[in-house]
C-alpha cells in the first residue's frame, strides 16, 4: 500500500481557499447596497435569463458570484428551505439569519469534506421595518459569515470596490443615488481604466421595504435607464415618470416604482451614529 505524502492541514486549507478565491475572482462583481427605502442589488450580468440575484422569500433576497451551477443549487435550496419553513410555521418565521446559518453550515461542510470547495460567494439580505433593521449577511466559500452594514461588494476586484463604497456610501441615500454609485463601482477596471456599463449589461433588483408581503422587485427597462441617467440631466423628481404602470410581466416581479427618488421622512437622521458599531452582531461569524 502506497503512502501519500504528508500534507499539513494548514496547507490543505490554504490550497482550497486559494482555489476558491481564484474561481470567484474570475467572475463579474455584484454590489449589494442599502438605500433609504430598502436594499438594492446590482450585478453586472448581460444575461436576461441566468440570474445572479433572486427572491427567496417575502423580505429576503439572494445574490451570488462565482460558478453558476453551484450558487444556483444553493439558491433553489434556499427557496425550498424558506417555503418549507413558512408553510410549516408561519411566514414571519422565515428569517435571513436562519437561512444564512444554514448556508454557512453547508458551505463549511463542503469546504472541508468534499473534494472541491464551492467557488462562490453569496449574500443573503433581509429588509426590515427601517434601515436599522435591515440585515445583510455575506457568506464566503469556507462557510464564514459576516454581518455587514450598509453595503457589500463581491466577486473580482471586490476589495477595491469595497473601498470605494466605504468612502462614498452613507445612510439614507436614494435608490437612484445608490444605483449610480454601484454602477460607478462596477465600472472601475482593475488598473485604473473605466468601462462603460449601460442598463442592458446590468441586473438590478430591490427589496422594497414599503411593499406589503413580497418586497422583491426587479428593475428593468426604462425605469432603470432613467434612474441611472438622472445625475446627468436633472436632480428634480421626474414628475411625468411617477405612477408608471407595471411593465410587461408584472407577476414576475417587474414593476416601475413611482417613489424611488422621493426622499423619505426619516432620511439622513442625525442620530445615526457610527455605522461600524453595529457591524459585529451577536450572530456574526
Amino acid at each position: 500500500m502506497s503512502m501519500p505524502f504528508y500534507v499539513p492541514p494548514e496547507q490543505v486549507m490554504k490550497d482550497r481557499a486559494d482555489f476558491a478565491r481564484k474561481g470567484i475572482a474570475r467572475g463579474r462583481s455584484v454590489v449589494v447596497v442599502g438605500y433609504d427605502r430598502g436594499i438594492a442589488f446590482v450585478a453586472e450580468n448581460p444575461s436576461r435569463a441566468l440570474h445572479k440575484v433572486s427572491e427567496i422569500y417575502d423580505r429576503i433576497a439572494f445574490a451570488a458570484v462565482g460558478r453558476y451551477n453551484e450558487f444556483e443549487s444553493l439558491r433553489v435550496a434556499g427557496i425550498r428551505y424558506a417555503d418549507l419553513r413558512g408553510y410549516s410555521y408561519d411566514r414571519t418565521d422565515v428569517t435571513a439569519r436562519a437561512l444564512a446559518n444554514t448556508y454557512a453550515q453547508t458551505l463549511g461542510a463542503v469546504f472541508t469534506q468534499e473534494s472541491k470547495p464551492f467557488e462562490i460567494e453569496i449574500v443573503v439580505a433581509e429588509v426590515g421595518a427601517d434601515s436599522d433593521a435591515d440585515q445583510i449577511f455575506r457568506l464566503t466559500y469556507d462557510g464564514s459569515v459576516a454581518d455587514e452594514h450598509g453595503f457589500v461588494a463581491m466577486g473580482g476586484a471586490s476589495d477595491a470596490a469595497e473601498e470605494r463604497l466605504e468612502t462614498a456610501w452613507r445612510p439614507g441615500m436614494t435608490l437612484g443615488e445608490v444605483l449610480r454609485l454601484a454602477v460607478d463601482v462596477l465600472a472601475a477596471g482593475e488598473n485604473g481604466e473605466r468601462r462603460a456599463l449601460d442598463a442592458g449589461q446590468l441586473e438590478v433588483a430591490v427589496l422594497d421595504r414599503d411593499r406589503p408581503r413580497r418586497s422583491f422587485r426587479r428593475i428593468v427597462g426604462p425605469l432603470l435607464s432613467r434612474l441611472l441617467g438622472e445625475a446627468r440631466e436633472t436632480t428634480d423628481t421626474p414628475a411625468d415618470a411617477l405612477g408608471t404602470p407595471p411593465a410587461g410581466s408584472p407577476g414576475a416581479g417587474t414593476v416601475a416604482d413611482p417613489r424611488d427618488e422621493t426622499p423619505g421622512p426619516g432620511d439622513g437622521s442625525p442620530a445615526d451614529g457610527s455605522p461600524d458599531d453595529s457591524a459585529a452582531g451577536p450572530d456574526a461569524h
Binding site: 428551505y81 417555503d83 408553510y87 446559518n101 448556508y103 414576475a252
Partner: protein, 277 residues
C-alpha cells in the same frame, strides 16, 4: 433536518440541494410527506364530522372574472362558523374558492399558494393559467383517499389569462377532473339554487359592478333555499367574500362597496322575494 453525523446537523440535506422539479408539493412529498394532506393515514371505514364550507359562485364579465363565496361553515345542523373566508387569492392573477371539508380545504389552499409562488421564484416566470389549473387538479387527486372517507374538497379556480387577456373559470370534481366553464359556475351545497339565479341573470358582456351584483343575488338565492349557506347578515355586518380578477390582478371588493351592493339587493327583495329578473 436529520443527519446522522454530529456537527453536520444544520447542513442542508441533499434533498434541498438536488436538482429536481420546481414543484413545492413534489419536494415536500419526497422530503416530509407527513406535512401534506395526502400524506396522512386515516383509520379505514370510519368517518368524522367536521365543518363544511358551502357555496361558491363565479362568473365572467367583460375583461375578467368575479368569484364570491358565502361565509358560513356548518357541522351537521350546527353553524360552525359565521364569518369564515372561502375565497382566497392563489397568486397575483387568480383566485380559488373552496367548498367541502373546511380544514382540509384551507390546508390545500395554503399549499397551493406556496406551490405557485415556489414555481414563480425558482423558474423566474409565472405559470400559465392552464398549468396552474392542472396543478390544482393534481392536488385534488392526491386527496382522493380522504375524499373516500367523506373529507371531500371541491374547489373552483378562476383567473385572468395574460395570454388571451380574458377571465377563465375552472371547475373540479372530487376525483381531480378539471373542466373549463363558459360563463358561470357554482359549487357547494347551495350551488343548485345559485346556478338557477346565475342562469337567469348572467349574460355575456356584463360590466364588473353588474357581475358583483349578480354574484350577490346568486348567493342570496342559495342562502334562501339552502340552510348551509349563509345569507348576508345585516345585523353583524357580515357580507359575502367577493374577489375580482382582471388585467390589473386579483383583488377583494372592499367592505363598504359590498355593503352598498348587499343593501341594494336586500332592499330590492322587499315584498319581492324572487329578486331581480
Amino acid at each position: 433536518m436529520t443527519d446522522s453525523l454530529p456537527g453536520r446537523s444544520r447542513r442542508l440535506d441533499d434533498a434541498f440541494l438536488s436538482a429536481g422539479s420546481s414543484s413545492f408539493t413534489e419536494f415536500v412529498s419526497s422530503y416530509r410527506p407527513e406535512l401534506l394532506p395526502a400524506g396522512r393515514r386515516l383509520p379505514s371505514g370510519s368517518s368524522i364530522e367536521a365543518p363544511h364550507g358551502t357555496t361558491i359562485v363565479s362568473l365572467l364579465f367583460d375583461g375578467g372574472v368575479v368569484m364570491a363565496g358565502d361565509r358560513r361553515a356548518t357541522m351537521g345542523n350546527i353553524i360552525a362558523n359565521r364569518d369564515m373566508e372561502k375565497v382566497f387569492a392563489a397568486d397575483d392573477y387568480s383566485v380559488v374558492g373552496i367548498a367541502g371539508t373546511a380544514g382540509i380545504a384551507i390546508e390545500l389552499v395554503r399549499l397551493y399558494q406556496v406551490e405557485l409562488e415556489h414555481y414563480e421564484k425558482i423558474e423566474g416566470a409565472i405559470m400559465s393559467l392552464e398549468g396552474k389549473a392542472n396543478r390544482l387538479a393534481s392536488m385534488i387527486r392526491g386527496n382522493l383517499a380522504l375524499a373516500m372517507q367523506g373529507l371531500t374538497v371541491v374547489p373552483t379556480y378562476a383567473g385572468f389569462d395574460l395570454e388571451s387577456a380574458t377571465g377563465r373559470i375552472y371547475s373540479y370534481d372530487v376525483t381531480g377532473g378539471c373542466y373549463i366553464e363558459g360563463g358561470h359556475h357554482s359549487t357547494g351545497s347551495g350551488s343548485v339554487f345559485a346556478r338557477g339565479a346565475l342562469k337567469k341573470l348572467w349574460r355575456p358582456g356584463l360590466e364588473e359592478q353588474q357581475a358583483v351584483s349578480v354574484a350577490i343575488e346568486a348567493l342570496y338565492d342559495a342562502a334562501d333555499d339552502d340552510s348551509a349557506t349563509g345569507g348576508p347578515d345585516l345585523g353583524r355586518q357580515i357580507w359575502p367574500t367577493v374577489a375580482v380578477v382582471d388585467h390589473a390582478g386579483a383583488r377583494f371588493v372592499a367592505k363598504d362597496v359590498l355593503e352598498g351592493h348587499v343593501e341594494r339587493v336586500v332592499a330590492a327583495r322587499r315584498d319581492n322575494p324572487g329578486g331581480a329578473r
